[in-house]
């Protein structure tokens, strides 16, 4: 059925649009971009900031163009001295009780409020308004909440509820004292927050930020007694170029490796190899589960998703793959296999992971992700002695994750060191490279270091939704049939829409698979699993929209794109698929580096040692989320 058309006048020009179009959308068709703040195209309408107001003839008041639908014969004025003045007044009032600390703010240069104020022509602060005073919430390993910078646009509340289905945030109180917090003003750490960081992404100011990790990394690099190793997740190479003027979707693997080496890291490893390892362990786990259950097996690489599982669907924990994430697998190998080969004490190794994700900061701090080491002689139960050794780097300032080794297991002759000592987001690495003065765009191509630097294309596509599934299917099809896979591309599981279900034939098995990104989509699959009507075999869940390419730690979008923009996510994903397609090595099984790890160190997939180093466990956590 064809939509009814509506004709209207915008700034004196006639335009015909579909019925139901908003004024803002109609303007967009004419190439007029109305300023906006609370509006976000991927979220529901709120219409609370009033920045997008326009004049409509014969209406006695300005209308919000984001929410007002057009009508036949409407006469809209988007720019007049009065409307510009009104918008400027609105932004000035928002600024009046906003901190005046732009130069020292994390979002300086990337702040939507700052950009908006400039675009609206705010050049002076006419009033010194009352300031909001709220404590800084540093309780979470991942997400820092600074309500003094909040402009109450409500985007975080909406992304948390609508995209992630978590609803951890709401506006509490009323009037001037309104504040966005978890229930009862609780700390982020005591809430149902899953640490995905999408609130950081959509926030127009610095009211939500990741907890900083760069200071600890700089210090570790400067220390002569530490061997500082870095690993980078698949999706970093697909996004980091955006910060240096490369068009979105430009793979920058080699240049990124060179930049990391120049920053001073002693070894640069590829998380993709961890992904290859995850695939092999997961494919073996799937084979066992096909015989013994429980099915479906649900992937567990995404720490935001794991957190969601533990808080919202704990009854499905037995379905989660016990495999550690690629990051933790690679960290475990670095502190054991690599340490042995290099003749290093694992305590000398400082493991840095660059991730598209803020929840990885939380994952690195989970007590399960530690390496138990025999205590050095004479230091058995010494709390003080223990604290003085190892890569214990002091915290630089509030907001910095503590990276001292966890004092777990002390006193039993065993000391635990964290597998991963520091996690940086893509944004933080981007800043470090800029801070150092490295011009990434013009760097020569570098290569990851052996023995943990070569990966198959299956590892690369881990960074996008459907990629883990595709990589698993490549491996499982050989494992099940016992002969080389007849195809490598499983385009039917590539999932741009957010939710996908299909059947994939492998040997005589017809595998029922589900892929979801964004936890509101995941809920749909999980509820089906609970109902048990259509039994699934494998489900891949990534917490963030588009998978890791849309992670909570990825760069703020370049000019012409908005955050969570499906076009931007598709470009980053395309970069990963291009890297995969361009590799000779596309199957995790054929990765010689992995073969060597299994042959010389782990003793085969699913072995006792592999299980100790590469697998983990989960537990129901409180507060329980409402789904």
């Amino acid at each position: 059925m064809r939509k009814k058309k509506v004709s209207l006048t915008i700034d004196g020009g006639r335009v015909t649009v579909d019925e139901g179009t908003t004024i803002m959308q109609a303007c967009q068709q004419l190439g007029i971009r109305i300023p906006r703040l609370c509006y976000h195209p991927e979220l529901s309408l709120m219409g609370s900031c009033r920045v997008c107001i326009v004049e409509v003839k014969d209406m006695g008041f300005y209308m919000t163009s984001c929410s007002q639908k057009v009508w036949e014969g409407m006469d809209v004025q988007t720019n007049s001295p009065e409307i510009r003045q009104a918008r400027r007044d609105i932004v000035e009032l928002l600024l009046d009780n906003h901190p005046q600390d732009c130069q020292t703010c994390e979002r300086d240069g990337n702040c939507e409020l700052q950009n908006l104020a400039h675009a609206m022509g705010v050049r002076a602060r006419h009033f010194e308004g009352r300031r909001k005073r709220f404590p800084l919430d540093l309780s979470s390993h991942s997400v820092v909440r600074d309500s003094e910078k909040c402009v109450l646009c409500g985007r975080c509340v909406r992304v948390c509820a609508e995209i992630q289905g978590v609803t951890n945030l709401s506006q509490h109180g009323r009037g001037f004292l309104t504040v966005v917090t978890p229930a009862h003003g609780a700390n982020m750490d005591d809430s149902v927050c899953i640490q995905c960081g999408q609130c950081i992404n959509v926030c127009p100011t610095a009211a939500f930020l990741e907890k900083r990790g760069a200071g600890a990394v700089w210090e570790a690099i400067a220390r002569a007694d530490l061997h500082v190793v870095v690993q980078t997740a698949p999706s970093i190479r697909a996004a980091i170029g955006e910060g240096f003027g490369l068009p979105p979707g430009t793979p920058a693997t080699g240049r990124m490796v060179t930049a990391l080496r120049r920053l001073g890291f002693d070894a640069v490893f590829d998380t993709d190899l961890g992904a290859d390892l995850t695939i092999i362990e997961e494919a073996h786990e799937l084979l066992t589960r096909l015989k013994e259950g429980p099915l479906p097996m649900i992937t567990s690489c995404s720490p935001g998703w794991v957190s969601f599982l533990e808080k919202f669907y704990p009854e499905l924990i037995p379905h989660a793959s016990t495999c550690r994430s690629p990051m933790s697998m690679l960290s475990a190998l670095t502190k054991t296999y690599y340490a042995e080969r290099k003749g290093l004490d694992p305590r000398q190794i400082f493991m840095v992971a660059v991730m598209p994700c803020v929840a990885k900061k939380y994952e690195a701090n989970r007590p399960e992700h530690v390496l138990d080491l025999p205590s050095p002689a004479g230091r058995g139960a010494g709390g003080e002695g223990a604290a003085a050794e190892g890569p214990g780097v002091r915290a630089e300032a509030p907001g910095v994750a503590s990276i001292s080794p966890l004092p777990l297991g002390e006193g039993q002759g065993v000391r635990a060191v964290p597998l991963t000592d520091a996690v940086l987001t893509t944004r933080e690495l981007l800043w470090m490279i800029k801070c150092y003065g490295i011009e990434l765009a013009t760097l020569p191509e570098g290569e990851f270091d052996p023995p943990l630097g070569s990966a198959s294309g299956a590892g690369d596509i881990f960074g996008t939704t459907g990629g883990v599934m595709e990589a698993t299917l490549r491996a499982a099809s050989e494992l099940v049939t016992g002969r080389p896979a007849d195809r490598l591309d499983f385009t039917e599981v590539r999932n741009v829409a957010g939710l996908r279900e299909t059947y994939v034939a492998i040997g005589e098995h017809n595998i029922h698979v589900g892929v979801a990104n964004g936890l509101t989509n995941a809920k749909i699959l999980l509820d089906k699993v609970k109902e048990g009507k259509e039994p699934f075999h494998v489900i891949e869940v990534m917490a963030c929209p588009g998978g890791c390419v849309g992670g909570g730690g990825q760069p703020y979008p370049p000019e012409g794109f908005h955050i969570l923009d499906p076009r931007l996510l598709a470009k980053r994903a395309a970069a990963l698929y291009a890297i995969d397609a361009g590799k000779k090595l596309r199957k995790s099984y054929e990765n010689p580096a992995i073969e060597e790890v299994y042959d010389t160190f782990l003793g085969g997939p699913g072995s006792e040692k592999a299980h100790r180093l590469l697998h983990t466990r989960y537990a129901a956590k409180l507060p329980r989320g409402i789904r």
């Binding site: 509820a161 609803t167 951890n168 945030l169 709401s170 506006q171 509490h172 109180g173 009323r174 917090t181 978890p182 229930a183 009862h184 609780a186 809430s191 149902v192 073996h284 786990e285 066992t288 589960r289 013994e292 259950g293 429980p294 704990p314 009854e315 924990i317 037995p318 016990t322 699913g606 299980h611 697998h615 989960y618 537990a619 129901a620 409180l622 507060p623 329980r624 989320g625 409402i626």
Partner: protein
């Protein structure tokens, strides 16, 4: 492989549900059950909060969390609604509410001096509750009995033409009543 190991029981729903029912008491829990059987149970949130406040006098985080679990509305939403409306109280209130009328007639008849005496006697200010949980001090805007100015309302009882010097004796009377278990107005909001 771990999959051959028995799966541990991981679901904590029954404990969460039982704790929530215990926090609210069976009558309210049953009312919520009834809401859940109707379409759009979340639209009953405010009705449920009214009952909880009527029962307990205020809405504590534990009450709100329990409502969230039983009604299956996210706790952040429940707390957001409860904190928005002036009617809902998030702090416990005293057994007796002292409402000092600060309307024009009472004011010119010395309500400010009356209020100051109460503040001095109890050591609390507007909106606060005494440590023993007996009195909460609030302001009222004209109680419609200007002939009795200045007016002090305690619970549902009106005291007219109160002078500051009468305050200690009045408070003592209610304090005594609060100490007798059968008296008082338990359950009043």
């Amino acid at each position: 492989m771990s999959t051959s190991l028995p799966c541990p029981a991981t679901d904590n729903w029954e404990e969460v549900r039982a704790a929530a029912r215990y926090a609210l008491g069976e009558p309210i829990a049953e009312f919520i059950d009834q809401c859940r059987r109707e379409p759009q149970p979340e639209s009953q949130l405010i009705a449920v909060l009214h009952r909880v406040q009527a029962q307990f006098g205020y809405l504590s985080p534990a009450h709100l969390d329990a409502v969230a679990q039983l009604l299956q509305v996210p706790a952040a939403t429940v707390a957001g609604v409860a904190s928005f409306y002036h009617f809902f109280r998030l702090q416990p209130r005293g057994k007796f509410i002292l409402s000092v009328c600060l309307g024009t007639a009472c004011y010119v008849k010395g309500a400010d001096r009356l209020a100051q005496r109460i503040i001095d006697e109890l050591g609390i200010t507007w909106g606060e509750t005494t440590k023993d949980g007996v009195f909460t001090l609030e302001q009222a805007r004209c109680l419609g009995t200007c002939g009795l100015a200045p007016v002090l309302m305690i619970g549902e009882e009106i005291h007219g033409q109160v002078t500051p010097d009468q305050v200690p004796a009045i408070l003592e009377k209610y304090l005594k009543r609060a100490r007798q278990p059968a008296a008082g107005t338990a359950g009043r909001g």
